[in-house]
Amino acid sequence: MDTVLKAELKKKAAKIRTSIIDEVYSAKSGHPGGSLSIADTLTYLYFAKMHVDPKNPKMADRDRFVLSKGHCAPALYAALSLRGFFDESELKKLRHIGAMLQGHPDMKHTPGVDMSTGSLGQGISAACGMALAGKIDSAGYKVYTVLGDGELEEGQVWEAAMFASHNKLDNLVAIIDNNGLQIDGKLSDVCSPMPITDKFAAFGWHVITMNAHDFDSIEKAFDEAEKIQYQPVAIVQTSVKGKGVSFMENNAGWHGKAPNAEQYEQALAEINAAL
């Protein structure tokens, strides 16, 4: 990747990470772990990849984004706000009474949110529907959807996986955030969906792997995805839950918990120090 772009993306990712911490701290609840693990991918999508216009969020030929793992809304809101879809001041109102930003994405009220999600397994189906609409209209847009690895335990994901390959939805890219942890613990201890890559390949998808925290790897994966025809693409990203905040990293306990004041300060200091 171009070094200037990479430096810029790193800065944006750090900003998104601090916003995630801010949001969850202000809300006193929410999901920091999985939000931090997708921060770099969302940075790349919103600042180097997707064709979107913050001034015209419903633009017909925009690329679509569906956060199938809707509980990681803090990451999406941080990216949307930084991209200019709405004012940054909304972030600190997340989950508050009367706030625009709901605990899980709400397409009716938040500019830039293409689909309401939160109940796992459903976003990918809606993303398939959007991709199918694109095919029917011979539109050039892409549909990106991010799923959790634990989310793959939902049967509906595999119904959608069948549908996407059957209908040759090559305008659909599903990113699987493989951080290995879910609320109840390690995926391997709860109900393992592994091997993820083999499963998507068996369902007829083109599978790409990437390091979720390395922009060179991210760029390479999305460049490859771009070239695939007649097949949907699954990008399985190896990520670190809680990435960027030492005490949250690889700790299922931070799946859905807000930091206290001391932890909040430490988290921000660590993210900024890494820049």
Partner: protein
């Protein structure tokens, strides 16, 4: 006497979709491996490029429909009531209802009149489930004419719509002058002062038959067809409660959460009068020919007469 024309509303649904396909060249139809049974086969043949079989995966089909609607598409999603409202409930609630996407759900094989397939397929809970979803319009047509009118009307509703169709051929009853289908508006089919029979779906014809029989016994019953369970016609129900003092509801659905519950919800607020509910009494059905099952479960003119007489006697 002319022969009574009978037709299953699932057939009406299929025919209406073909007609709608002509008018709306962007109408899409989805099904979950039940193209022939849900009667969308005709649309498939007429417009194969606008027809998508999602396979035996109703949850995903509802999500696909949501994604299409979010992309500006007009879409009908078809399955049996059991799977459309039952299996896919949470997807209908969260992916369609919550974002208020204009997905139209065509649910066939509703109620006990599914017949031989038995309890696993006899959905008597769908109206209860669907009417709890905020913003969902729920329509239960009473015959061929009304079923088609409901499909046409649904296209103009800017929100999700659930329409319930049956497998059993039932008499055409709305072929009278002045019939007009309006979403959310009940239809008074016969006036009366002693009691009001409020019916929906295939029980409307039974209610009319019952009212005729009741006249010979000196009971003057009003008959109202409530095709739209949600939003329900409060005015027609409250007026009937005030003027007749007794309501008997009749539906091919559980007595829990369906038309009877919806009517009771209304009158407890505007004019509390007795509401006697005829429906499936919190039990599962079983296999058998549909006409026999309807009789057995009390979903017949005969039972409406009996229940109405008893209720009038208690007035």
């Amino acid at each position: 006497m002319a022969d009574v024309i009978k037709k299953a509303t699932r057939d009406s649904y299929g025919e209406a979709l073909v007609e709608m396909g002509k008018v709306h060249d962007d109408l899409l139809v989805l099904v979950a491996d039940l193209a022939d049974a849900t009667k969308v086969e005709g649309f498939k043949k007429a417009y194969p490029e606008r027809f998508f079989d999602c396979g035996i995966a109703e949850a995903n089909m509802m999500g696909i429909a949501a994604g299409l609607a979010a992309s500006g598409k007009k879409v009908f999603a078809s399955s049996f009531a059991m799977f459309a409202a039952g299996r896919a409930f949470e997807i209908v609630r969260n992916s369609i209802g919550y974002p208020h996407l204009p997905v139209k759900i065509g649910a066939t094989h509703a109620g006990i009149s599914v017949g031989e397939d038995g309890a696993s397929h006899q959905c008597c809970e769908d109206i209860a489930l669907m009417r709890t979803i905020p913003g969902m319009t729920v329509i239960n047509p009473s015959d061929d004419i009304e079923a088609k009118a409901a499909v046409y009307a649904a296209m103009d509703i800017d929100g999700p719509v659930y329409i319930r169709f049956g497998r059993l051929a039932i008499p055409v009853i709305n072929d009278f002058d002045g019939y007009k289908f309006e979403v959310g508006k009940g239809v008074t089919l016969k006036d009366g002062k002693d009691a009001t029979i409020i019916a929906s779906g295939l029980l409307v014809n039974e209610a009319l038959e019952a009212a005729k029989a009741l006249e010979t016994d000196g009971i003057n019953a009003r008959v109202i067809n409530i095709h739209t369970i949600k939003p329900i016609d409060r005015d027609i129900i409250c007026k009937a409660a005030k003027e007749t003092g007794l309501l008997i509801t009749a539906e091919e659905h559980s007595v829990i959460g369906g038309l009877g519950s919806a009517v009771a919800d209304v009158v407890t607020e505007c004019c509390p009068v007795p509401v006697v509910k005829i429906g499936v009494n919190d039990e599962f059905g079983h296999s058998g020919p549909a006409p026999d099952l309807l009789k057995e479960f009390g979903l017949s003119a005969e039972n409406i007469v009996k229940v109405t007489k008893e209720a009038v006697a208690r007035k």
